[in-house]
Symmetry: C2
């Protein structure tokens, strides 16, 4: 968090209304005065930090107030909907951050570009471990149609970004299904990775460990290979996917495709031709 300690001539608490101005400042600690917009951003940043390390049901509004050096009435002044509203605002901020990572331009072939997006994604998952896990696992008390809509929005951003990285303009239903499917695989891998980390270090959600399914870098390599193989299968079932795959595997992508073919081919034909186990 990068919250400036600058004090506005009109204290944010007073500007926010009489109730906030009457907050028992001396008893609760040294509250800092911040301009309205800064205070709002600071509360969201503090909430995001707490929701990143704890599932939503374990974070109270008092925790946020304490960590922000603010009073409980002040937090309610900014977020009249209480914890749920603060949770959704924090989720919105996290979603925007993740979406912006997806859209950053990357050089290299399709595999390098996908690998880069995955690195960004696993970095984000690691930073927001507990909150991300609770969100994707579902069934959380903080889950609503609105939070599901935000999660879907991030998926759509990932979706768009992948199609852009692959230079696909008008994806048909099968190609869309392939990309959606791969995103589901990425989320499954991320959740499994988080579970491993949680098991390795009880009471500590981060850092994600090396045991179990492997490191983030190993999962990234596996996921890129899975993408190419899944795409190749779709190409067997769908003419558009076949055209896109062919153009993907020319130029910068030729090496990726040829390498995977050689590795898969020797494995599968070797196994198929080999002696029974």
């Amino acid at each position: 968090m990068d919250v400036p300690a600058a004090v506005d001539p009109v204290p944010a608490d007073a500007a926010a209304g009489p109730a906030a101005a009457r907050a028992p400042r001396a008893r609760r600690g040294p509250y800092r005065r911040l301009p309205v917009e800064q205070r709002r951003e600071q509360l969201i940043a503090v909430a995001l930090e707490l929701f990143s390390r704890h599932p939503p049901e374990e974070v109270s509004l008092d925790d946020v107030a304490l960590a922000a050096g603010a009073s409980r009435p002040l937090v309610y002044r900014y977020f009249p909907g209480g914890k749920q509203q603060l949770y959704e605002a924090a989720l919105r901020t996290a979603a925007d951050e993740l979406s912006s990572r997806f859209t950053a331009p990357v050089d290299g072939g399709p595999a390098e570009r996908l690998g880069h997006v995955l690195d960004q994604y696993f970095g984000f998952v690691d930073e927001h471990a507990a909150g991300y896990g609770a969100l994707l696992r579902g069934g959380s008390v903080a889950e609503t149609e609105r939070t599901s809509a935000i999660v879907d929005e991030v998926r759509r951003a990932a979706h768009r970004s992948i199609l852009e990285q692959l230079l696909v303009k008008d994806p048909g239903p099968r190609l869309l299904l392939l990309v959606r499917s791969w995103i589901a695989v990425v989320e499954t891998a991320a959740l499994t990775w988080l579970d491993d980390a949680r098991r390795d270090s009880p009471g500590e959600a981060s850092p994600a460990g090396e045991a179990g399914v492997g490191s983030a870098a190993e999962l990234r390599d596996w996921l890129v290979d899975e993408f190419v193989a899944m795409f190749a299968v779709s190409a067997l079932h769908d003419p558009q996917s076949q055209r896109v795959l062919r153009s993907m595997l020319t130029g910068a992508g030729a090496e990726t495709g040829a390498r995977l073919v050689a590795r898969l081919g020797s494995l599968l034909t070797g196994a198929a031709a080999g002696p029974p186990a």
Copy 2:
């Protein structure tokens, strides 16, 4: 539904207590008397039918009572937790039914066995279209930690069944991740298939259509191929997966593996060696 009209000597309503016995029978229609356990099963069957065709938020307790030919107080007598309890009981029944389909023994190679499980699964998805979609999409008002636990339980049953079909005894973390990932792909395909059907016939969730991503049979073939390809990629990254794949691709599975290798190989190497698009 197959609800016998047999009448127990002690009417179920009276046996259930005075409040139910006082229900305004004449005004509400011809209620049928059923023994307690039969009545409970009937209410669950009626609820399941309604939740299958409508998302949970569109089904009221009165709808269930009306469809069951029962009074609202009677329904509350059996399900004091109201609609949410009835929803969870219906979900439990559906989950048990789906899990039992997974465990049915099947002949043939791994591809045939997986294909058969997928046929069962898509049949179930089609029968429970609206409810299934609402459940897997998340964010429903009826979603709780308990409903999420039931869904997870079904996933674990699918998981176990797939490992049994593949004759894997002690799956390591990478093999488990592979199976979880493929189940996520299957769910993604099923949801997309349901979305297609909903778009094709507004106001009618069933039957699932042929447009968009294709028929259930086409998706089944695609999913089986995806499984083999995803497994092959995992085998490149994990020794246990490689051993299991090798034994899978001998005997009854040899043809499946060899056929997919030939198809993928010609596609990928042809594309990699071909002229730029």
